[in-house]
């Protein structure tokens, strides 16, 4: 039945594209179909599905996932408060007067707001509102405008403590735990903090590349920009936001507080400032919380559905099949990593980053980490691939969001042409990190780097350990 799981995976892709139904509904329906198929043919012990409620309670009981509604609320509050506007004006005022200033300001704003916004969707909404009208006024073409907004919106994916980073960290932690236990390696299992640190240098490199590209592209803008005046209150808001952001990032990076607490601090600060300045009243707050619960639900329904689906795949034995396939990739570890990243990249044509994190990563990453010991390196490569997936035409989430929110969206072909240099920079960085793993171990001691297994394990041995690790859950009481 191992290949049935692969067929179900394909069915999910077809179902999502063909029906237009929410991905969560398709995942649940296909999972039930797979379970029924296994039960009807008598080939799988369907009683294993009784483990599902326990897994779902783990989601409701997960400390790290508490960050999710907080980030969503933070993004929504940012959109209703003048923080983004103040930061943009401050950035424009600081930069030397040139045609490139608006595009560079847009990129910097994306990097600053990304970690606070948490999600790409919230960043797109915020940046579209603040940057797009100004770029229009400066004579920047819609294609370049949309490309810059899309790229800037994804910068937060790499800059900690973003939502994508947190969700990926949680999934990588589970995958690494599984791999370390199966191989018997003495590695410390990676945590959110490790992945935050590992992503910092690649994120900085990508930001520098994007700013350079924005400056080059911006020289073709139609006229030199006169910076908008920065009022005292806007300057204060920008300075406060910047200090808060540095404290937020620094505090998480230094381990003073957890990502959830950082998110709560950000949300609380925005909430308090909005109430004190009377920009938030009952009606606005009601709308913010209405949107917050709806967007949070979209992400959690996906997580719940993916948990159901991956359990069915495990019951069908697809995880062992994937393990064997990854183990069979010939050559150096780089080839195995490239093969798995290619699968994730291919999935990005039909699935968005959150779907990939919840559905694909738990299937393909544990076998990869069994083979490749450096979990930080793999995590950052997956992160870079996910960031690229947000911009991958035609279904990249950031692309679709930008085109959906723009009043006069550029034709896709022209937008892709404007996007091409940024995509090239993204893939260049991916290649650099792939062939230079030391970039993700910046400031890390030699002893902390993941070690290869003491001896190579056969696929049979790994599968035997996997079975030992996941014993059949007990059936519920009949009474």
């Amino acid at each position: 039945m191992e290949w049935t799981g692969m067929a179900l995976l394909l069915l999910v892709g077809v179902g999502i594209i063909g029906t237009g139904l929410p991905a969560a509904v398709v995942l649940v329906a296909v999972a039930l179909f797979g379970a029924a198929l296994g039960w009807a043919t008598g080939t799988v012990p369907i009683g294993l599905l009784w483990a599902l409620p326990g897994r779902l309670i783990n989601i409701l009981d997960n400390d790290l996932l508490q960050a999710l509604p907080l980030y969503v609320t933070m993004g929504l509050l940012l959109n209703r408060l003048p923080v983004a506007d103040a930061l943009y004006r401050a950035c424009s005022a600081i930069l030397p007067r040139s045609r490139s200033a608006p595009l560079v300001s847009g990129m910097v704003l994306g990097a600053l707001l990304g970690p606070m916004n948490g999600s790409v969707g919230a960043s797109v909404l915020g940046l579209s509102r603040v940057i797009s009208p100004r770029l229009n006024a400066e004579g920047v073409t819609p294609a370049i405008r949309d490309a810059v907004v899309a790229v800037a919106s994804t910068l937060g994916v790499l800059v900690p403590p973003s939502l994508v980073l947190i969700l990926l960290s949680d999934t990588m932690l589970s995958a690494h735990t599984l791999a370390v236990t199966q191989t018997g390696r003495a590695d410390r299992v990676i945590n959110t903090q490790d992945i935050f640190h590992a992503a910092l240098l690649p994120a900085g490199l990508f930001l520098v590349l994007c700013v350079i590209l924005a400056w080059i592209v911006g020289r073709k803008a139609t006229r030199t920009v006169k910076p908008e005046p920065l009022t005292v209150s806007q300057g204060l808001v920008a300075a406060t936001a910047l200090v808060a952001l540095v404290l937020l990032l620094g505090g998480v990076a230094a381990g003073y507080f957890y990502a959830v607490e950082a998110a709560a601090m950000g949300a609380f600060t925005l909430l308090a400032s909005g109430l004190l300045t009377r920009r938030l009243n009952y009606t606005v707050l009601r709308d913010v919380f209405h949107d917050a619960i709806a967007i949070t639900g979209a992400l959690f329904s996906l997580l719940v559905a993916a948990t159901t689906f991956t359990l069915v795949l495990r019951i069908l034995g697809t995880d062992r099949l994937v393990n064997n396939l990854v183990g069979a990739i010939p050559g150096h570890d780089v080839l195995a990593v490239a093969g798995v990243l290619a699968v994730i990249g291919a999935c990005a044509f039909v699935l968005d980053a959150f779907e990939i994190i919840f559905v694909i990563v738990p299937i393909v990453i544990p076998p990869l980490l069994i083979r490749v010991a450096d979990a930080r390196w793999v995590s950052v490569l997956v992160l870079l691939t996910l960031q690229a997936s947000f911009l991958l035409p035609p279904f990249g989430y950031a692309l679709m969001m930008v085109r959906g929110t723009a009043q006069n969206p550029a034709p896709l072909r022209l937008m892709l042409r404007a996007l091409a240099p940024f995509l090239a920079a993204q893939w260049l960085l991916l290649m650099i990190v792939m062939f230079e793993p030391s970039l993700v171990h910046f400031g890390q001691g030699e002893g902390e780097i993941g070690r290869a297994p003491a001896k190579d394990l056969s696929n049979e041995e790994i599968n035997r350990r996997l079975k030992e690790m996941v014993p059949p859950p007990s059936m519920p009481d009949s009474n």
């Binding site: 991905a23 039930l32 009981d61 917050a292 979209a298």
Partner: protein, 162 residues
């Protein structure tokens, strides 16, 4: 008023109430750090209470997303379907996906949730009361999803104008 309208109204009210849980969630999780590192007391209580509120918020959020239409979807092909076809597809999705899933969760989690409720299970790490509410939240999630699925299935399909 038909029972469908009543059900619709009840689900709407549950969501309208649950959305405000975001406020205590933000405050409690914000307080964790000063309580732990400055006042050195009640940080675990704030964390546990935040966990309960988080579970209830998330439990209702799935249905809130369905009603607000915020679920992640790929519309590349489906945008060309008529409204009637899309509504029918949604009905089928609720009928073969969400409704049976919610029923299965209610059935499969019965012993876990009921036994937790009976002993008023406390948080295993801290001993603080209320952990059973987190398990109960799973039922709240399943029941609201089931109710919303029923609404989807029973709702009349629009006449095809396309």
């Amino acid at each position: 008023m038909s029972w469908l309208c009543r059900l619709d109204r009840v689900v709407g009210r549950i969501i309208a109430g649950a959305q405000w849980l975001a406020l205590p969630l933000i405050i409690l999780l914000f307080l964790q750090w000063p309580l732990r590192d400055i006042f050195r007391s009640y940080s675990r209580e704030a964390n546990d209470l935040g966990q309960i509120i988080f579970a209830l918020f998330v439990a209702v959020s799935v249905t809130a997303a369905t009603r607000a239409g915020t679920h992640l979807t790929a519309d590349a092909i489906a945008q060309y379907y008529s409204r009637r076809v899309r509504v029918r597809i949604r009905k089928i999705g609720a009928l073969i996906g969400l409704a049976p899933w919610a029923l299965f969760i209610l059935l499969a989690s019965k012993s876990v949730v009921v036994s937790s409720l009976q002993v008023r299970e406390a948080f295993p790490d801290t001993g603080n009361p209320g952990y059973f509410i987190i398990k109960l939240a799973l039922w709240i999630m399943a029941i609201t999803i089931l109710a919303q699925s029923l609404l989807e299935i029973m709702r009349r399909a629009p006449r095809d104008s396309a």
